[in-house]
C-alpha cells in the first residue's frame, strides 16, 4: 500500500455519535470505532483492545481515553496506546470534520 495516500470517506454526521460515546463503522472485515468526546472532538480506533480484542466502542469514554469493557484497560483515543502500566497499541485512523460531516481517513 502507498502509505502517504489517504482516502477520505464520509461516514455520517457528528450528531450520529453520542457525546462521550462511540459508533461503529464496518470496513470489510474490520470494525472501526468512531468516538466523540464531551468537547466534540472525534477519533477513530480499530474496535479491538490490544489486550484481548475487547470492543472498545462499548467502553466508557473519559478524558481523551476509552476504558475497555472487558478488563478495564485504558486506551488513548488519539494514539491508540494503552495508558498506565499496560503496554500495547490499537490501530488509529485520522478523522476530519467538514462542518457536521465526519470524514475517516483510510
Amino acid at each position: 500500500m502507498n502509505a502517504p495516500l489517504r482516502n477520505w470517506v464520509e461516514i455520517g454526521s457528528i450528531n450520529d455519535i453520542p457525546r462521550q460515546g462511540a459508533r461503529c463503522v464496518k470496513n470489510g472485515e474490520m470494525t472501526i470505532a468512531v468516538f466523540r468526546t464531551s468537547d466534540d472532538r472525534v477519533f477513530a480506533l480499530e474496535d479491538k483492545c490490544p489486550h484481548k480484542n475487547g470492543p472498545l466502542s462499548q467502553g466508557i469514554v473519559h478524558d481523551g481515553c476509552v476504558t475497555c469493557p472487558l478488563h478495564n484497560w485504558v486506551i488513548s483515543l488519539e494514539t491508540g496506546a494503552a495508558q498506565g502500566a499496560d503496554e500495547g497499541q490499537t490501530a488509529s485512523f485520522p478523522v476530519k470534520l467538514d462542518g457536521q460531516t465526519v470524514l475517516l481517513g483510510l
Binding site: N7, V9, I11, G12, D16, I17, P18, R19, Q20, G21, R23, C24, V25, K26, N27, G28, V34, S38, P55, Q58, G59, I60, V61, H62, D63, T67, P69, N72, V74, G84, A85, D86, L104, L106
Partner: protein, 815 residues
C-alpha cells in the same frame, strides 16, 4: 536536711494524683493523710460500673496499701479532721490525733446536695457520692421494687441505668424539661430520653419533688402536681456542694469553694487546696480532668519554685452508661453570633451538632456517633480557624485530609520479606523495589505494577505506608483511599456529600468534590450514576454514557459479540402463550441456543445486535418485559411450588414470589439482587443462599438475607419472622431501600451487612417500625420512576444509535 511535714486532708482522686506528681520530682516531704472514709484511694468515676455490676471495688482501687507503705506515707483511715489550727500549724482529728504541718493541703471534696423536702432523712434515701452510697444502692436493689432517682443529670442517669441493670424498676424525676440540660441541647436530650425509655426506665421531666413519703423508711415520692410514685429506694443526685466548713472555721477565704490563686494556694500561704472543694478563677469544678490539672499545679509548687498555673479549659462530658454514647463540650447555647452545623440520622438515632463563632468551634454535642468528640475538642481548645473545612466538618476527622499519628513506625519495623498483600503474595521488599526501580509515585501506579492491594484492597493502608517509607516526604499518605484515582473521597463519603450538598448531576459531584480528572473514569462514573439515580428519583436523568455496556443495551454481551435476551418470568411462572411467543421468536430470528437459567427463566443466546430491537418488540407484544439479567438491580425472585401443589408447603410461595417480583422489578441497586421464596424449610427454592430469602413456615414467614453463592459461598443470616405477606413486602422493600441508600457501588448485600452490622440492620428494619416505614415509603416513591420497561422504550426509538452501525464501507471504495 530533715524532711518537711506535708499533711493532706482527704484522700480522693485529686490529692492522690497530686502525690504521684510530687513523688516523681521530690522526696523532700514526710506525708500524712487523713481520710474520713475508711479506705485507700479509689477511682470515684468508676462507681457507676460498680453499681451496674460491671466492675467491683477492687477493680477501681488506684493506690493500694503497699503504695503508701513504699513512700513512707502515714494514712489515717476513717479519721475526720475537725480543726485546723493555723497559728500552731497543726490539725486535729475526731479521734484526737494531732498532726503538725509545714505545708497543708485541703482536699475535702464535696457533698451531695440533699433537697430539703419532708422525708429526705428517711432510711432508704441515699445520695450517690461514694462507695458506701453505691453499696447501699446495691443492697437495696437486691430486694427489688422501684427506685426513684431524683435528678436527670450525669450522676442521676448513671445511677438509674445501674439500678435498672440490678433488676429494679426505675423512675427518673427531673426538674428541667430535658435530661442533662447543662451538657446536652434539647435534641440530644430527647434522644437520650428515648434510649433510656427503651431500656425500661421511666423518665418524668418538669417534675418537682414535693415530699418523700414513709414512716419508718421510704415508701414513695410525692410530686408537686400530686402524683405519687411508690419507691423502696430514693437516690438524690441533684448536685454537689464543696465542703468548705473546715476551711471557713479556720478563717480561710471562702466563697462557693475554698478560694485559691492560680497556683492552688489559699489565702494562707502554707495551705493549698485541690479538688472539688476549690474555687479557682471564680469556678468550681466537678469533673476529673480539671481536678487532675489542679493536682499537677499544686505538686509543682509544693516541690519548689514553679511557674505552673491552673488555666480554665472546657471539659467534655461523657455518660458512663454502657451502650449510650454521648459527648458534649463547650458552649452550645444558641445566639445571634453563632452558627450551627447539624447532622441527624433519624434511622440510626444519631445527632451531631457543632457550634461555631467567628469560624471557630466553641461547642459540640454528639449523640450516637461520638468518635469525633476528641477531635472537635482539640480544635475548640486550640481555637483553630475551621473556615477551610466547614463543608465537611460535621462528617468528622476521617473526612478531612491530613495524616494520623506515626503509622509508619510499624511498617518500618517489618522485614523485607513480610507479605503486605495477601491476595497477590506481594512482599514489602517487592513493593519498595518496584517504587525505586520504576519511579512510582502514586498508589494507582504501585497497584498497576505490583498488583499489591489491587484485589480485595484491605492492605491499601499498609501499601501506602510502605510508599511513605520509601518515598519520604514526597508522598502524602491519604487518610482514606478514594473510590478511584480521580478522587480522594471514599464511596461512603461521596454518598453522604451527594445528599448533604444536594448534588444532582455527575458534573456537579465532580466539581463540588474536587475530582482530579475532568470526566472521571470507568470506575467512578457508573458508581456516581447509580448514586444519583438512587438518591434523586424523578429528578436525575440517567446518564447512559456512564453505564456499562450491558446496562446500556439491556442485554448481556457474549464473547462472540452476540447478545443474550432474557424476558422476565415473575416468580418463575410462565404460560403456554408466553412459551409459544418465545418459540416463535427463536424461529424467526434463528436464535441458536435456548437455555433454562438458574433463576427460573429462559435465556435466548446468540441474538445478533441488529435483531435485538425486533426480538424485544415481539416479546413485548406477547406481554413480556426485560428480565434485567444484565443489571446491577433486581434480577429474579425464585420460588418453589408451595402449598397449592406441594404436600409439605406451608404458604403460597409462588404467589408471594410473584408479588415480590412485581413490587421490586426495575429497581437499581449497588450490585445485583436475587431473591427466593421457599414454601417450607426444606428450602427447594434455595432461599438460604440468596441476597434476600423468604422461608415459609406454619406461623408465617422467616426473612433471611446476606447469602452468596458465587466466588464466595455464604449462608444467609436471619432477619426475623413476620406473620403476613404484607409485612414481608414492607420489610423487604425497606431493607432493599436501606441497602440501596447505604451500599457502595458493586457491594453485594452481604458485604454491606458485614460493614454496617447485621444487628444494626435488624434494629432498623425489623424492630424500629417508624424507620422501616420511612425506608419503605422512599422505596415505593422511587419505584414509580424505575418501573419502566427498557425494551419498550428502545422499541419506541430510544438510544437507537446503540443498535446499528454508523456506516459500512465497501472494500472497493477504499481503493
Amino acid at each position: 536536711m530533715s524532711k518537711q511535714r506535708l499533711v493532706i486532708i482527704g484522700n480522693g482522686m485529686a490529692p492522690g494524683r497530686m502525690l504521684e506528681h510530687l513523688f516523681e520530682v521530690s522526696d523532700a516531704f514526710e506525708v500524712t493523710i487523713f481520710n474520713a472514709e475508711p479506705r485507700v484511694n479509689y477511682d470515684r468515676i468508676m462507681l457507676s460500673p460498680v453499681l451496674s455490676g460491671e466492675k467491683t471495688y477492687t477493680d477501681i482501687i488506684i493506690h493500694g496499701e503497699g503504695w503508701y507503705e513504699e513512700r513512707g506515707i502515714t494514712l489515717h483511715k476513717g479519721e475526720k479532721i475537725v480543726q485546723i489550727d493555723r497559728d500552731e500549724r497543726k490539725v486535729v482529728s475526731d479521734k484526737g490525733t494531732v498532726a503538725q504541718y509545714d505545708r497543708l493541703v485541703i482536699a475535702t471534696g464535696s457533698s451531695p446536695f440533699i433537697i430539703p423536702v419532708p422525708g429526705s432523712d428517711l432510711p432508704g434515701v441515699l445520695a450517690y457520692r461514694d462507695l458506701d452510697d453505691t453499696e447501699g444502692m446495691i443492697a437495696a436493689s437486691a430486694k427489688g421494687g422501684r427506685a426513684v432517682v431524683i435528678g436527670g443529670g450525669l450522676l442521676g442517669l448513671e445511677a438509674a441505668a445501674g439500678l435498672k441493670l440490678r433488676g429494679m424498676e426505675v423512675t427518673v424525676i427531673h426538674l428541667m424539661p430535658t435530661l442533662m440540660e447543662r451538657q446536652l441541647d434539647t435534641a440530644a436530650g430527647y434522644l437520650l430520653q428515648r434510649e433510656l425509655e427503651g431500656r425500661g426506665i421511666e423518665v418524668l421531666c418538669q417534675a418537682n419533688t414535693k415530699r418523700i413519703i414513709g414512716t419508718d423508711r421510704v415508701e414513695g415520692v410525692e410530686l408537686a402536681d400530686g402524683r405519687i410514685i411508690d419507691a423502696s429506694l430514693v437516690v438524690m443526685a441533684v448536685g454537689i456542694r464543696p465542703n468548705v466548713k473546715l476551711a471557713q472555721e479556720a478563717g480561710l477565704a471562702v466563697n462557693r469553694g475554698i478560694v485559691t490563686d492560680a497556683t492552688m494556694r489559699t489565702s494562707d500561704h502554707s495551705i493549698y487546696s485541690v479538688g472539688e472543694c476549690v474555687e479557682v478563677g471564680g469556678m468550681v469544678y466537678g469533673l476529673v480532668a480539671p481536678l487532675y490539672r489542679m493536682a499537677k499545679v499544686a505538686a509543682e509548687h509544693l516541690a519548689g519554685p514553679s511557674k505552673a498555673e491552673f488555666v480554665h479549659a472546657e471539659t467534655p462530658t461523657k455518660l458512663k452508661v454502657t451502650g449510650v454514647n454521648l459527648y458534649s463540650v463547650g458552649d452550645f447555647a444558641e445566639g445571634p453570633d453563632r452558627e450551627d452545623i447539624v447532622l441527624r440520622d433519624a434511622a440510626r438515632g444519631s445527632y451531631k451538632r457543632v457550634i461555631l463563632k467567628d469560624n471557630k468551634i466553641i461547642g459540640a454535642v454528639l449523640y450516637g456517633d461520638v468518635a469525633d468528640g476528641g477531635w472537635y475538642n482539640e480544635m475548640l481548645k486550640s481555637g483553630e480557624d475551621v473556615e477551610g473545612m466547614r463543608e465537611t466538618l460535621i462528617f468528622g476527622q476521617a473526612y478531612q485530609g491530613g495524616a494520623s499519628a506515626d503509622p509508619l513506625a510499624a511498617v518500618a519495623s517489618l522485614p523485607d520479606d513480610a507479605e503486605i498483600c495477601g491476595c497477590n503474595g506481594i512482599t514489602k521488599g517487592q513493593i519498595m523495589a518496584a517504587i525505586r526501580d520504576k519511579g512510582l509515585t502514586s498508589l494507582a501506579e504501585v497497584r498497576a505494577h505490583t498488583k499489591a492491594s489491587a484485589s480485595c484492597g484491605t492492605c491499601t493502608g499498609l501499601v501506602e505506608n510502605v510508599m511513605g517509607l520509601t518515598l519520604g516526604d514526597t508522598f502524602v499518605i491519604p487518610q482514606a483511599a478514594g473510590m478511584c484515582p480521580c478522587t480522594t473521597h471514599g464511596h461512603g463519603e461521596v454518598r453522604r456529600l451527594i445528599r448533604a450538598k444536594e448534588l444532582k448531576s455527575i458534573p456537579a459531584v465532580m466539581q463540588e468534590l474536587e475530582w482530579s480528572t475532568p470526566e472521571g473514569c470507568a470506575k467512578c462514573r457508573p458508581a456516581l450514576n447509580y448514586y444519583l439515580v438512587c438518591d434523586w428519583p424523578g429528578e436525575y436523568t440517567d446518564d447512559q454514557q456512564s453505564r456499562f455496556i450491558n446496562e446500556r443495551v439491556h442485554a448481556n454481551i457474549q464473547k462472540d459479540g452476540t447478545y443474550s435476551v432474557v424476558p422476565r418470568m415473575f416468580g418463575g411462572l410462565t404460560t403456554a402463550d408466553e412459551l409459544r411467543a418465545i418459540a416463535d421468536v427463536a424461529d424467526r430470528y434463528s436464535i441458536p441456543t435456548i437455555k433454562v437459567t438458574g433463576g427460573q427463566r429462559i435465556d435466548l443466546l446468540g441474538v445478533k445486535k441488529e435483531d435485538l430491537i425486533p426480538v424485544w418488540k415481539d416479546l413485548n407484544d406477547a406481554g413480556m418485559i426485560s428480565g434485567a439479567a444484565y443489571s446491577k438491580g433486581l434480577r429474579t425472585v425464585k420460588t418453589c411450588v408451595g402449598k397449592d401443589f406441594c404436600r409439605f408447603g406451608t404458604q403460597d410461595s409462588m404467589g408471594l414470589g410473584v408479588k415480590l417480583e412485581k413490587f421490586l422489578w426495575g429497581s437499581w441497586s449497588p450490585a445485583k439482587l436475587k431473591l427466593a421464596v421457599t414454601g417450607c424449610p426444606r428450602n427447594c427454592a434455595e432461599a438460604t443462599c440468596k441476597d434476600i430469602g423468604v422461608i415459609c413456615v406454619d406461623s408465617g414467614y422467616e426473612i433471611v438475607y446476606g447469602g452468596a453463592a458465587g466466588l464466595h459461598i455464604q449462608g444467609t443470616t436471619k432477619l426475623g419472622n413476620v406473620k403476613t405477606e404484607d409485612e414481608v413486602i414492607e420489610v423487604i422493600g425497606a431493607m432493599t431501600q436501606m441497602y440501596r441508600e447505604q451500599g457502595f457501588y458493586l457491594e453485594r448485600i452481604y458485604k454491606w451487612a458485614e460493614r454496617v452490622g447485621y444487628d444494626h440492620i435488624k434494629d432498623v428494619i425489623l424492630n424500629d417500625l417508624e424507620a422501616r416505614k420511612t425506608y419503605y415509603d422512599r422505596f415505593v416513591y422511587s419505584q414509580q420512576f424505575a418501573q419502566v420497561d427498557p425494551w419498550a422504550e428502545r422499541v419506541a426509538g430510544a438510544e437507537a444509535h446503540e443498535f446499528s452501525n454508523m456506516a459500512e464501507i465497501k472494500l472497493e471504495a477504499a481503493e
